[in-house]
Assembly symmetry: C2
Homo-oligomer: 360 residues x 2
Amino acid sequence: MSPNVTGTPGSQSTLGPELPGLFARYKGLVEVGLSRAVPESSGDDIFLPLRYHLGWVDREGVPAGSSFTQGKALRPTLCLFACEALAADPDRAIPAAAALELIHNFSLIHDDIQDQDLERRHQPTVWSLWGLPRALVAGNGLQSVGDLAMLNVAGDYVPTETTLRVSQILTESYMEMIQGQVLDLDFESRTGIVADEYLQMIAYKTGALIRSSLEIGALLATGDPLAFQAFSSFGSSVGRAFQIRDDFLGIWGDQTTTGKAAGNDIRRRKKTFPVVFAFENARGKSREELLRIYGQEELTGRDVEKVLDILDEVGAKDQSYAITEASAHEALEALGPITLPTWAQREAASLVGFLANREF
Amino acid sequence: MSPNVTGTPGSQSTLGPELPGLFARYKGLVEVGLSRAVPESSGDDIFLPLRYHLGWVDREGVPAGSSFTQGKALRPTLCLFACEALAADPDRAIPAAAALELIHNFSLIHDDIQDQDLERRHQPTVWSLWGLPRALVAGNGLQSVGDLAMLNVAGDYVPTETTLRVSQILTESYMEMIQGQVLDLDFESRTGIVADEYLQMIAYKTGALIRSSLEIGALLATGDPLAFQAFSSFGSSVGRAFQIRDDFLGIWGDQTTTGKAAGNDIRRRKKTFPVVFAFENARGKSREELLRIYGQEELTGRDVEKVLDILDEVGAKDQSYAITEASAHEALEALGPITLPTWAQREAASLVGFLANREF
């Protein structure tokens, strides 16, 4: 049975790029969880860079005003949604939701070191302000704060066994994420990557934590293995839709909404889905051009234009759309075997539609 | 009541530098735990650098022969010892012991990145072989492998509640370790550090994981809070003795046993205990010299000689000895309130004596 969802997943005409109501619905809970989990900073300690990275304070520790959390808080939102959709009070998932956001942010701090990125969310990155050694330990610190939040999820409605299980799921998915990062690093020095390999890599790198967010939310609500499996599959497909859309925006996104220059991922020679697809499908002179361009240390504006032309020629844009839409559809199909309240079905469709069509 | 120990803690004449029997006693268990915890490598994945770092394989993945584990495996040995000293089968602590060794090794991989060290244990460091991005994720991977081992300690004799508690203790102590790393980084750019501050820093940076190793071993054996407290205090003192001896060896150690050049820590401008003590106690021209020398980016051989003279002048060597011996004594005192079998009392004394007097 296919879930009775409103709207057409993946259809840009009916689903706008606004953040679905789900994000606003859980924003307060995510903030509560995060502020409980992350210790105050006494100034010159590990917690100042963490609070800065989370967008709470400036580099001097001065509160940053209204923008309490930056970013979409996708993972905690998914976790709280799964929990409430399965008829449990989402309050019990607050520490878990915070943990997921913290683990995600920890990976961003380390990503910025690896990629030597100077800016994130229009602000200087942690390593660019505090240097590599401190950013490295700050990232590690954020992970531990997250791990500890998850270990502390036990409470009136969450038995110890479940707490242990969700901590294991988090750690296992985090190891998959690392495995994905390693594959991604391998891809940098390879040209023969095929689309299937790429999809496997992002299933680890991006998909695992998104999937585990939903698994954890489901497990905190119910011991029903069918519900767990449904949200797990939902998460895998959501992760793919999310990442391929991310790849799309990294090349064809609007700078004013993404905060990144158009063609940014090409300039940085990132082997995201459209480029991998082009490498697999370009023939003759186009293929030679691709090999030449990606064989260089730095790309000129002309190189970027040329790559964009080749992506056009092989239909990489359409293919990216197609995979995103198929994944969005599969996500909702995955919820088919279980019965969810109407509001949850509607929110799932709205969420998936947003992730597949978002402009930011 | 003071424990009835044989031997005189901290007395070099009676206690040689050989590794106490305790290490050999638990070596097999530690190896079993580690090989269960760390997945096989399929070649080009995260686990090759991990297995290499642990000394199991060379950089190509070829088994390294007889030297299954390198390093002393101090933390797992302490954990297994606490467990068995409290009359429990140490087998139940095997996953925890492995976790502690993995977390320690994870911190070494990241330390080598931070310090840009090219060698560890006479081998090229992970980052120097695989590059920073891969070493960074390899370190993170090792931490997760460790976390997962600890989360899997539950079994016939370890209830879920205890598993959750030991995972929390591990994570909390790991956060203290990070806090110590941050303080240590701060010290690099400061000159007014006093000995007390330094001792607080190492209580976090080195002491926390050593202390938690013993706490975890105790908790896996018994729910008795007195036993937990005794091993916790024992661990804090052991940690201090261990680190101050480490600092001693970093300056006055024999290159053939430590694997590091004599005066190595001075050449690297490390503010270890003897140097901090000298900064606090040197007066007049000696103090000016210290400030001048440590104000430079690089130290000459002559600078190193000069610092060694000043350390001599202020009695830094004797003071390092004195603190190590006092800590060793306090460690054994801490076990006083509990009753331990004779073998355990003897092993505790032997262990403490070794840590305070070791040459490697």
